[in-house]
């Protein structure tokens, strides 16, 4: 056990699984860097350094830099997965799904079903998402609900370094296509992370705070903010349960419903857009299956339905933060 950043945690999971299984390969744009160039090899290790050091250990045969051709290499990862490898492809920013979505939506997700169960596609697509980097509208979105909408895909949104390592290990060992969404503003977050490999099962939520008055379901980076609110309001007489679903597909329905049955109040916090997103999905689930337990209307805390703005002044308002979560919790608790 030692302090590790989110970046190191993901790197370790990739490294450990590559050591364990020679079928695990990585591919993506600049995941080593310097391919074909005269200068430093492994110059980048991905744009934010997450895969740094893996090419020197495993070689260019297993850490493949690609041309900027997302359709070709994401599709190649899918085809390689269907024929015997276990590729981890790096779709640099989640916004770039737009240029290769067919290979994810129509090929990766559906091969198994269309072929009557006679295909297995153990591919992981790593991708960065999230606002807070002043990276503007095409490098900042939280588009993971679009993947969760597609049957055949599994979607992981880790909330901390510990979670990231265990969930990445599971993603690589999993036999289905997994979209692994890493919040770019979390790479330098640190916490104690075991040195040895471990896998966190999919579809099992993590309850990070336990309380009787309000259930907060938060996704990805929002878990940290929700915990902060729970700790603060706990001292003021509002005790909160915080649930981190870890995977939004599969979604741990039971942990959410059971908690709302106890508290009768729900706040859902998500960084994705409000329409047809995870917050709306979870709110609908609770309205359908735990309506009688509800003592107050469900509240969704999300960004407004806008693209992510560039200006720091605007982006800071865009991101759901502690004050808005706190206000929502107070509102459902009747202490607004």
């Amino acid at each position: 056990m030692s302090k590790k950043s989110f970046r190191q945690a993901v790197n370790e999971a990739l490294r450990d699984e590559m050591r364990r299984d020679s079928r695990v390969i990585l591919m993506g744009e600049d995941i080593a860097g310097g391919m074909g160039a005269a200068g430093e090899q492994d110059a980048w290790g991905g744009p934010l350094g997450v895969t740094k050091g893996l090419m020197p250990e495993f070689g260019r045969e297993r850490v493949l830099d690609t041309p900027i051709s997302e359709s070709a290499f994401i599709g190649a990862a899918v085809g390689a997965a269907a024929t015997g490898l276990r590729p981890v492809a790096d779709l640099m920013f989640i916004d770039f799904m737009g240029v290769c979505f067919d290979q994810i939506l129509n090929q990766a997700a559906k091969l198994r079903y269309m072929f009557g169960g006679k295909a297995t596609v153990p591919v992981v697509i790593r991708t960065m998402f999230g606002a807070g980097f002043r990276a503007a509208s095409q490098h900042s979105q939280g588009l993971y609900p679009l993947f969760a909408h597609v049957p055949g895909l599994k979607v992981v949104v880790p909330s901390s370094p510990y979670e990231a390592k265990g969930l990445m290990t599971q993603a690589i060992r999993d036999d289905d296509p997994v979209i692994f969404c890493e919040h770019k503003a979390m790479y330098d977050d640190q916490e104690d992370v075991p040195d040895e490999p471990y896998a966190i099962p999919f579809g099992e939520a993590n309850v990070t705070r336990e309380g009787d008055d309000v259930t907060i379901v938060a996704i990805g980076r929002m878990v940290k903010f929700a915990n902060e609110v729970a700790d603060k309001l706990g001292k003021q007489g509002i005790s909160c349960t915080v649930i981190d679903p870890r995977t939004i597909s599969p979604l741990d329905r039971n942990t959410i419903i059971d908690s709302v049955e106890e508290t009768g109040r729900l706040v859902v916090v998500d960084e994705a857009s409000p329409r047809c997103g995870m917050a709306a999905d979870i709110a609908a689930l609770v309205a359908q299956d735990a309506f009688k337990a509800l003592k107050a209307p469900v509240r969704m805390v999300t960004p407004p339905h806008t693209p992510v703005p560039f200006s720091a002044a605007l982006e800071d308002i865009y991101i759901p933060g502690v004050p808005r979560i706190e206000a929502a919790v107070r509102a459902v608790a009747g202490q607004a």
Partner: protein
């Protein structure tokens, strides 16, 4: 390279099987027995068979909308294929794929594809697996003249060249992408387009089995031996519409009849082997009868097969969930 008698008989058997299969699917569709969207391969048999005779079980192919011929040429079970196209239990994909997604990974057939240009990226992956695991295998992407203008195909040709993959790109240019002529939609010469990626290629008469076989043999050997990706451009014709139900009013008067009369791949094959004394007409007639009986049986079994059950709707989405 000379083909021996067994190989020639096998080639004719496969081409005849594809023709009979497609002609029969055409009739069954017209009578309302087959649901959905169906795209037939009749007329192009020499392409699939000439290429796939150079492949083995460890090699993969990815197909197009027009996938029945590639399935048969790669060794898929014809009766299970017919059941699949009828949407029945016991179909090659359990009735869940249908004509547009027909596949059998155990035969190295990675599927017909409902997305034009969907296959080439997958083939880069299959070729990467062969290269990484050193299986000695190759992977072949069949694309139509429509798919040849998709970015996925062009990106894949570049990626295959950059990664030096054992991949072969086969353009089946049947003259029409849906209703649009390839003479209009493809700018420049396809072989030169491939050359632009550093991929050697050849244009071949796709009606001539022997020309296809020989060009494919050279290209696949070159790629299999580590020479990097290869390209083939087959000029060919389809006998039916883009989809079943297409009135094909965009085609010239008498165009298909002329091809059937003058350039039919089965007729050309018979002329060649009979003329050279390699095979006798009665040997080929026997194959015609065997194949007709096989397809009759396949249709009868497909019609008699049960529909999938309601539980089948929910299976095969995930390995675990």
């Amino acid at each position: 390279m000379e083909l021996n008698r067994e190989q020639l008989l096998a080639a004719y058997h496969q081409m005849r099987t594809i023709r009979e299969f497609e002609e029969r699917v055409h009739r069954e569709f017209s009578s309302g027995s087959i649901p959905g969207f169906v795209h037939l391969y009749a007329g192009e048999e020499a392409c699939a068979v000439g290429v796939c005779m150079n492949l083995s079980a460890k090699d993969y192919i990815a197909s197009t909308h027009r996938g029945h011929g590639h399935c048969i040429a790669k060794g898929c079970d014809v009766k299970a294929m017919m059941k699949e196209i009828f949407g029945r239990k016991g179909g090659l994909c359990g009735g869940k794929g249908g004509s547009m997604h027909i596949a059998d990974m155990s035969k190295g057939m990675m599927g017909a594809n409902g997305i034009v240009g969907g296959g080439p990226p997958l083939i880069c992956g299959a070729a990467l697996t062969a290269k990484t695991l050193k299986t000695g295998g190759v992977a072949v992407a069949f694309v139509g003249d429509g798919g040849f203008n998709q970015g996925t195909t062009l990106e894949s040709m570049n990626l295959a060249a950059v990664w030096k993959l054992p991949a072969i790109f086969v353009l089946e240019d049947n003259g029409y992408a849906e209703s649009t002529a390839s003479s209009w939609s493809i700018s420049g010469e396809p072989v030169k387009r491939a050359a632009g990626f550093g991929i050697p290629g050849e244009q071949v008469n796709g009606h001539d089995f022997f020309a296809v076989y020989e060009a494919a043999r050279k290209a696949i050997s070159r790629t299999r031996e580590g020479g990097g990706p290869s390209f083939l451009h087959f000029k060919v014709s389809r006998y039916f519409g883009h989809f079943e139900g297409d009135a094909t009013t965009y085609r010239g008067a008498g165009e298909v009849d002329k091809v059937r009369a003058e350039r039919d791949c089965l007729t050309l094959f018979r002329k060649r082997v009979e003329g050279a004394g390699l095979l006798k007409a009665d040997q080929l007639d026997t194959i015609d009868k065997e194949v007709a009986a096989l397809i009759d049986a396949a249709v009868a079994e497909a019609k008699a097969a049960p529909e999938p059950s309601a539980e089948d709707l929910l299976t095969d989405v995930y390995a675990s969930y």
